[in-house]
C-alpha cells in the first residue's frame, strides 16, 4: 500500500520532469551559495587558527610591551628567574625576493603544550633546531621559494600556514637583526604557587588574556560577517524557488492525494509519504548543492585569500579542505529549508477535504487582512531598524539595521504594488484594461514571494554596487593624493640608504624619506611614519580635519597626524593628546583618510621620530620628479647606482597594484551579486510557471469572450513586465538605503573609515533593463505555452468539473 502510494506520488514527477528539475535546482542553488560561503569562512578561520596556534594567541595569555614592539631579552630571563613560567617569541617580517614571510622565533624548551603545530619536526631533531645554522619550518608552498637564502635548513611542513615560517628564537633574532630582543612572552597556564603579583614583577608589560583574541580575527570578523549575510540572502532567495515548486506540485497533485485517500490510504500514511518524498528531494538536492557549493567556494577562495591578505595581511591557504562539520551543516540547512518551504503544502495535505472537488485553484485571494499584516510587519521592522541605528552599537547593530531594513522593504512590496495596481485600475478605461489591472492585482499573492526575492536581489545589487563604486571613486582620488612621489626607491641597508639619498638629491626636485617604525599605539599594532617638512605634503595630503597650522605643528614636533581609523577607534579629535611609544606625548594636529589600511597609523616629523627610534630603517625614499623623467631616473638608479629593479617602483605601478588589490577585494562581492540576481530571475520563472497552470480556469472565460490566445499571451507578458518594472522602481530607494547603511554604518564599524556616497543612475538603468529582460525571458515561456494551448484544452475547462 505504501509502496503503491509512493509510486503514485512520484509518478507526478515523471510526468513533470521540468518541475522536478526546478525543485532540485532551486534547493541545490540555495544550499550551494550558503554552503559555499560557509566553506570559505571555515577555511579562512582555520587558517587564522593555525596561525594563532603557532603564536599561542588562541589559548594562552601573553605579555606584550606597553610601548614599542619589543622588550629586552633580559626581561624574559628576569621573569623566569623570578619564577614566572613564560616563553619568549620574537616575530618579524623577512623579505626574500618578493616573498614576505612572517618569521616566528620560539624556544621549544619553554613553550607550552602544542604551541608549535610541527612539534614533531622539532622533536625529531631538537639539536638541529637549536644548534648550528638552525632549521626553518615553512609551508610546502613557501619552502622552495625560501631556498637557501636564509642560510638555515628549510623543512617543508604542511602544518605551517602559508606566509609563515618558524624557527628557533636565536635564529630568528639573527635573521631579523633583533639580537637580544623579544616581541612578546607567552604566559603558561600553570604557574607555580606563591609568586608575587605579575604587575609588580613585569612593569611596562601589558597582559593580553587569551579571550581577547588576536588582531587577525578581530580585523577580519566584519569581512566574514559580510560574506555570511550574502550567503543567507542567497539561501532565502533560493527558498522562494523551492516554495513555489512545492506549491505547484501540490496544486497539480490534488487529484492524486484525494484519490489515494479515497482508496483508503490513511491520512497519517499520506503525510508520511509526502514527508519522505520531500526528505528524499532535500537529500539529493542538498548533496548536489554541497558539491556546487564546494565548487563555488574553491573558485572564489583564491580571491578571498587575496582580499584578506591585501586588506588585512591575514594569510589564508588558497586551497579548500573538506570538513565534516561543514557537510553536516549544509545537509541540515537543506533539510531545514525544504521543511520551511514545504510546510505550507504539508498543512494543506493534512487539511485536504476528502470529498471536495479535487481542483487546483488560484492561490489565496488577495485579502485586505494579509496586506494589513504585511504593512504592520514592515512598519514594525522599520522602527526596529531605526532603533538599531539610533541606539545600537558595533557591527552587529549595523547588520540588524541592514536585515530589518531589507525585510521591511520586502514586506512592504506587496502593499506598495497593491496600491500601485489599484491606482492603475482606477485610471483604467475600458473593460479589458480594467480586467488586466484587476487580474494583475489578483495574481499578486502568488507572485509576491518571487517579487520580494527580486526586490532583495536588486536592492542588494544597487546597494553593494553603489558602495563599491563610491569606494572606488574615493579611493582612486585618495591614491592620487597619497602617492605624492613619482618614484619610490628602497635601499638594502641603511648605509646604502644614505648613499641613495645623496645620489637622488641632485637628480630629483625633492627627496622624501619614507621611514617608519611598527609599534603599539593604544595597545594595538600601529605604524608611525616620519615626514620631512615639505611643500608636497602641505599641498596634497588628504586631511579630513586639522588644527590651524597643522604642518608647522608636525614640523615642530608638538603635533602628529593620525589616520581616520585610529581617530575613530580612540575617539580622537584634533587638539587631543596622544601617547606614543618611548614616552612620547604629542597632540593630534590632524586626521587624514587612510583607506585600505586595517591598522592605526601616525605621521610625525621625521627628526622627532628618528630621535626616538634611532634604529629606524633608513632605506626608503620617494623622489619628486617630472613624470617624463621617471623612466630615465629608474634606469640610472638601476644601472649606475646598482639598485635591483625590484627596489625601484614608480607611482603608476603602485597605483595599479593598489587598485588591483581593491578590485580583487570586491570580486567576491560581485560574483555573489550576479548569482543572487540569477536565482531571483529563476524564482520569477518558477512562480510564473506555477501560476500559468492554475490560471487556466480564469483565462478560459476571457478567451471565450473573444480574446485571442496570442493577445492573452501578450497581456501575460506585459503583466510580468509591469510587475517587474514596479519592483525595480521600488528597489532603487531600498538599494540606496542599503548603500547608505553600508557606507556610513557598516564600513565605519568594520574598517574604521567613512566614505562619501556617490550616485550612479546609469548603473541602475542598466540593472533595471537587465532585470526587465530577465523577467521578460521568464514570462516568455509560460506566455508561449498559453499562446499554443489547444483551444480544446480551454474548452474542456468548461466541460469538465473544473
Amino acid at each position: 500500500m505504501h509502496a503503491a502510494g509512493l509510486a503514485a506520488l512520484l509518478s507526478h514527477w515523471r510526468r513533470h520532469p521540468l518541475q522536478l528539475a526546478t525543485l532540485i535546482l532551486g534547493l541545490a542553488l540555495a544550499t550551494a551559495l550558503w554552503s559555499g560561503v560557509q566553506a570559505i569562512n571555515a577555511e579562512a578561520r582555520a587558517s587564522y587558527d593555525e596561525a594563532e596556534a603557532i603564536l599561542g594567541e588562541a589559548r594562552f595569555g601573553q605579555l606584550l610591551p606597553e610601548e614599542g614592539d619589543s622588550l629586552p631579552q633580559s626581561r624574559y630571563v628576569a621573569l623566569r628567574r623570578a619564577g614566572w613560567l613564560v616563553s619568549p617569541v620574537v616575530e618579524g617580517r623577512v623579505e626574500i625576493v618578493g616573498v614576505t614571510l612572517r618569521l616566528i622565533g620560539i624556544d621549544p624548551l619553554t613553550m607550552p603544550t602544542g604551541l608549535a603545530p610541527e612539534g614533531e619536526a622539532i622533536a625529531g631533531d631538537l639539536p638541529g633546531f637549536l644548534t648550528g645554522p638552525g632549521m626553518i619550518l615553512a609551508n610546502p608552498a613557501d619552502a622552495p621559494r625560501i631556498g637557501d637564502r636564509l642560510k638555515a635548513r628549510i623543512v617543508a611542513s604542511a602544518g605551517v600556514p602559508p606566509g609563515v615560517a618558524y624557527t628557533d628564537i636565536g635564529v630568528a633574532q639573527r635573521l631579523l637583526s633583533r639580537d637580544g630582543e623579544v616581541s612578546r612572552l607567552i604566559l603558561l597556564p600553570d604557574q607555580p604557587r606563591g609568586l608575587p603579583d605579575l604587575s609588580a614583577a613585569a612593569p611596562g608589560l601589558a597582559l593580553r588574556t587569551p579571550e581577547q583574541g588576536s588582531d587577525v580575527s578581530r580585523l577580519t570578523g566584519s569581512f566574514h560577517l559580510n560574506l555570511t549575510a550574502f550567503g543567507l540572502l542567497s539561501f532565502a532567495v533560493g527558498l522562494f524557488i523551492v516554495h513555489s515548486a512545492i506549491g505547484l506540485a501540490f496544486e497539480q497533485r490534488r487529484p492524486i492525494f484525494r484519490t489515494l485517500r479515497a482508496l483508503g490510504l490513511p491520512l497519517q500514511s499520506l503525510v508520511l509519504l509526502f514527508a519522505a518524498e520531500l526528505t528524499g528531494f532535500a537529500l539529493v538536492a542538498g548533496a548536489l548543492g554541497m558539491a556546487l557549493g564546494y565548487a563555488i567556494a574553491a573558485a572564489l577562495l583564491p580571491d578571498v585569500a587575496a582580499t584578506l591578505s591585501g586588506l588585512y595581511g591575514a594569510e589564508v591557504a588558497g586551497t579548500l579542505s573538506l570538513r565534516p562539520a561543514w557537510w553536516a551543516a549544509g545537509m541540515a540547512i537543506a533539510l531545514a529549508g525544504t521543511a520551511l518551504a514545504g510546510a505550507g503544502a504539508m498543512l494543506k495535505v493534512i487539511r485536504l477535504p476528502l470529498l471536495a472537488p479535487a481542483q487546483p485553484r488560484a492561490w489565496a485571494r488577495a485579502s485586505q487582512e494579509r496586506l494589513y499584516l504585511f504593512a504592520g510587519g514592515a512598519a514594525g521592522l522599520t522602527l526596529a531598524a531605526f532603533a538599531a541605528w539610533r541606539y545600537g552599537e558595533g557591527l552587529a547593530a549595523g547588520f540588524v539595521l541592514l536585515g530589518a531594513l531589507l525585510i521591511a522593504a520586502a514586506l512592504a512590496l506587496p502593499v506598495v504594488l497593491h496600491l500601485a495596481l489599484s491606482f492603475g485600475q482606477h485610471r483604467a478605461r475600458g473593460a479589458l484594461a480594467a480586467w488586466f489591472w484587476a487580474d494583475t492585482r489578483q495574481q499578486l499573492p502568488g507572485l509576491s514571494l518571487a517579487l520580494m526575492a527580486l526586490l532583495l536581489a536588486l536592492a542588494a545589487n544597487i546597494g553593494v554596487g553603489t558602495m563599491v563604486a563610491s569606494f572606488r571613486l574615493t579611493f582612486t582620488g585618495w591614491l592620487d593624493q597619497r602617492l605624492v612621489s613619482e618614484l619610490y626607491a628602497t635601499a638594502r641597508t641603511d648605509a646604502e640608504g644614505a648613499r641613495l639619498r645623496a645620489f637622488l638629491e641632485p637628480r630629483a626636485d625633492a627627496v622624501l624619506p619614507i621611514w617608519h617604525v611598527e609599534a603599539r599605539v593604544a595597545r594595538l599594532p600601529a605604524e608611525i611614519y616620519g615626514v620631512i617638512d615639505h611643500a608636497t605634503y602641505r599641498e596634497t595630503w588628504p586631511m579630513l580635519a586639522a588644527l590651524p597650522g597643522v604642518w608647522d605643528r608636525v614640523a615642530e614636533g608638538t603635533g602628529v597626524l593620525v589616520n581616520e581609523q585610529l581617530a575613530l577607534r580612540e575617539g580622537l579629535a584634533p587638539g587631543d593628546p596622544i601617547a606614543l611609544p618611548e614616552g612620547w606625548r604629542a597632540d593630534v594636529a590632524g586626521i587624514y583618510s587612510d583607506y585600505g589600511n586595517p591598522i592605526g597609523q601616525v605621521v610625525a616629523g621625521l627628526p622627532h621620530l628618528v630621535a626616538r627610534f634611532p634604529e629606524i630603517e633608513k632605506r626608503r625614499f620617494g623622489a619628486r620628479i617630472a613624470p617624463a623623467d621617471v623612466p630615465g631616473l629608474a634606469r640610472v638608479l638601476r644601472d649606475e647606482f646598482g639598485l635591483p629593479a625590484g627596489n625601484i617602483v614608480d607611482r603608476a605601478t603602485v597605483k595599479r597594484f593598489s587598485l588591483q588589490v581593491f578590485e580583487r577585494t570586491f570580486t567576491v562581492t560581485a560574483a555573489l551579486n550576479v548569482l543572487t540576481l540569477a536565482i531571483a530571475g529563476f524564482a520569477i520563472l518558477t512562480s510564473l510557471l506555477t501560476l500559468a497552470t492554475i490560471r487556466q480556469p480564469q483565462l478560459a472565460p476571457v478567451w471565450a469572450l473573444g480574446l485571442t490566445r496570442r493577445r492573452l499571451a501578450a497581456l501575460e507578458l506585459a503583466r510580468a513586465l509591469l510587475l517587474a518594472a514596479l519592483t525595480i522602481v521600488a528597489a532603487v530607494p531600498v538599494g540606496l538605503a542599503l548603500a547608505w547603511v553600508l557606507l556610513t554604518v557598516i564600513n565605519v564599524e568594520a574598517f574604521g573609515w567613512r566614505l562619501p556616497m556617490h550616485l550612479f543612475p546609469g548603473d541602475w538603468l542598466r540593472l533595471g533593463l537587465l532585470s526587465l529582460l530577465a523577467a521578460a525571458l521568464a514570462a516568455l515561456w509560460p506566455a508561449r505555452r498559453l499562446a499554443r494551448t489547444p483551444p480544446a484544452d480551454l474548452l474542456k475547462l468548461f466541460a469538465s468539473e473544473r
Binding site: 593555525e50 596556534a53 631579552q73 633580559s74 624574559y76 630571563v77 623566569r80 628567574r81 623570578a82 619564577g83 613560567l85 624556544d107 621549544p108 624548551l109 619553554t110 613553550m111 607550552p112 603544550t113 602544542g114 604551541l115 608549535a116 603545530p117 610541527e118 612539534g119 614533531e120 622539532i122 622533536a123 625529531g124 631533531d125 631538537l126 639539536p127 638541529g128 637549536l130 644548534t131 648550528g132 604542511a158 602544518g159 628557533d168 628564537i169 636565536g170 635564529v171 633574532q173 639580537d179 637580544g180 600553570d190 604557574q191 607555580p192 604557587r193 606563591g194 564546494y294 565548487a295 567556494a297 574553491a298 573558485a299 577562495l301 591557504a317 586551497t319 579548500l320 579542505s321 573538506l322
Partner: protein, 364 residues
C-alpha cells in the same frame, strides 16, 4: 574544476611527547636514528663523537670541578635528602640540575648548545610532589658557576657548596633549605673514575654525603620545619651507558653508625646486572667495591604509574657483613617528568639500620 583537498594536518604533539623525543635527542647529536629503546635509558648511550671522554688518570680539582664541564655531553648536580618533621614524620627531598650539550663546541647566547633540565620533588608518606623545568644555556636562564658556587634554573637555586642555600618551587609545593657540609667530598669508583659496564663505559663521579640540612617545606597542608641529612652526587660523562643497558637501580644510605653506602646495579638486556658499591667511613674514606661484591635482590614490586617497580630490596655486601632490607617511605614516588623514573626516600633495616634514597630508571 576539482579543488585540491589538503592532506590532514598532523595533530600537535603534547609537550610531553615533544620533549620526550627531544630529550632523547638531547643526549644525541644528529637526528634520532631509531626508537628510544635502542639508545639505552634516556639516550644516555648515545655516541660521544666530538665530546671529551672520561680519563682514569684525571684527579678532581675543587672548587673548579663543582662547576660545569662543557667538553662533556652530560652532567648533573643531584641532591637528595632524608628529612624529619617536628612530629617525627619522615620526608624526602630532591633538587637536581641536568646539563646536556646538544652539540659539541660552545656558543654565545641562544647559539649555546647547552640545554638544562631541573627536577625537584618532595616526598611524604602519602604524597609525592614533582616539578620540572627546562632552560637554555647562554642566556642566563640556567647554569652553574663553580666559585662562588651557584647553580640555578629559573627561580630554583643553590648557592654555596660548603654552606649553602637551596630552594625550588612547583605548582603545589616549595622548599627553602640551608646546607652545611660536615665531611669531605668523596670520590667514587677508582679515584673518581666510575666504571658503568664491562665494556668500559665510565663517568667522573664524586659525592658529598655529609650534608646536614634543615629548612622549611611548603606543602598544600601548610609549612613544615624539617631537618635531616642530604647527599650530593656530581657526575659527568659523554657516554655513560652501553646501548644494551636498559636502566639502573641506585641507592645511597646513611647508616646510624655514621657510615655511608653508595651502590648501583646497571641492568642490561643480554647480560647479568653490573653491580658496583662504595663504602664510606664516617671520616669520608671511601672503599670501592668492583662489580660482583654488592648483591641487590628485589623483594617485592609495586604497581606505579601503570608498571611494576621493585620498591623493596635486600642488599648484601659480605665484606662489610651488610645484610639489610630497604623499603620505600612512599612506594608511589614516581617522577612523572619528561623522562620518568622512580626516586624516593627509603629506610634500611637489618644489620645496618639507616635511611637513604633509592632511584630506579628504565622500568617500562
Amino acid at each position: 574544476m576539482p579543488p585540491r583537498a589538503r592532506s590532514p594536518r598532523p595533530r600537535p604533539p603534547t609537550r610531553r611527547r615533544l620533549l620526550q623525543t627531544g630529550l632523547a635527542a638531547l643526549a644525541l647529536p644528529g637526528p634520532l636514528p631509531g626508537p628510544l629503546a635502542a639508545q639505552g635509558f634516556a639516550g644516555l648511550a648515545g655516541t660521544a663523537q666530538g665530546f671529551a671522554l672520561p680519563d682514569p688518570a684525571r684527579r678532581f680539582a675543587f672548587p673548579a670541578d663543582h662547576g660545569p664541564h662543557p667538553r662533556f655531553r652530560i652532567e648533573w648536580w643531584y641532591l637528595t635528602a632524608n628529612l624529619t618533621g617536628p612530629d617525627g614524620a619522615e620526608y624526602g627531598l630532591q633538587w637536581t640540575l641536568f646539563r646536556s650539550a646538544l652539540a659539541p663546541g660552545g656558543g654565545e647566547g641562544w647559539q649555546s648548545p647547552e640545554a638544562w633540565m631541573g627536577h625537584a620533588a618532595v616526598t611524604t608518606a602519602t604524597a609525592h610532589h614533582v616539578a620540572e623545568r627546562f632552560g637554555r644555556g647562554g642566556i642566563g636562564q640556567a647554569g652553574v658557576i663553580a666559585e662562588p658556587f651557584e647553580a640555578w634554573i629559573d627561580d630554583w637555586h643553590w648557592q654555596g657548596i660548603e654552606t649553602g642555600r637551596l630552594a625550588a618551587r612547583g605548582r603545589d609545593f616549595a622548599y627553602d633549605m640551608t646546607l652545611q657540609a660536615e665531611g669531605p667530598f668523596v670520590p667514587q669508583g677508582a679515584a673518581g673514575y666510575s666504571v658503568k659496564s664491562a665494556a668500559g663505559q665510565a663517568s667522573h663521579y664524586y659525592s658529598q654525603p655529609f650534608y646536614r640540612i634543615d629548612g622549611n617545606l611548603r606543602l598544600p597542608g601548610g609549612d613544615i620545619p624539617v631537618t635531616g641529612r642530604a647527599w650530593l652526587d656530581r657526575e659527568w660523562s659523554s657516554q655513560p651507558l652501553t646501548p644494551d643497558q636498559t636502566g639502573w637501580d641506585w641507592v645511597s644510605l646513611h647508616f646510624e653508625t655514621g657510615e655511608k653506602l653508595m651502590g648501583y646495579r646497571l641492568r642490561a638486556r643480554n647480560a647479568p646486572p653490573y653491580t658496583v658499591a662504595t663504602w664510606i667511613a664516617p671520616d669520608g674514606t671511601p672503599t670501592p667495591y668492583e662489580a660482583g661484591h654488592l648483591a641487590a635482590e628485589p623483594l617485592g614490586t609495586t604497581e606505579v604509574a601503570g608498571r611494576m617497580v621493585p620498591t623493596a630490596w635486600r642488599l648484601t655486601l659480605a665484606a662489610r657483613t651488610l645484610d639489610v632490607t630497604i623499603a620505600a617511605l612512599n612506594p608511589q614516588s614516581w617522577m612523572a617528568t619528561t623522562v620518568a623514573y622512580w626516586e624516593g626516600p627509603v629506610r634500611a633495616t637489618g644489620s645496618h639500620p639507616g635511611r637513604g634514597y633509592l632511584e630506579m630508571t628504565g622500568y617500562e
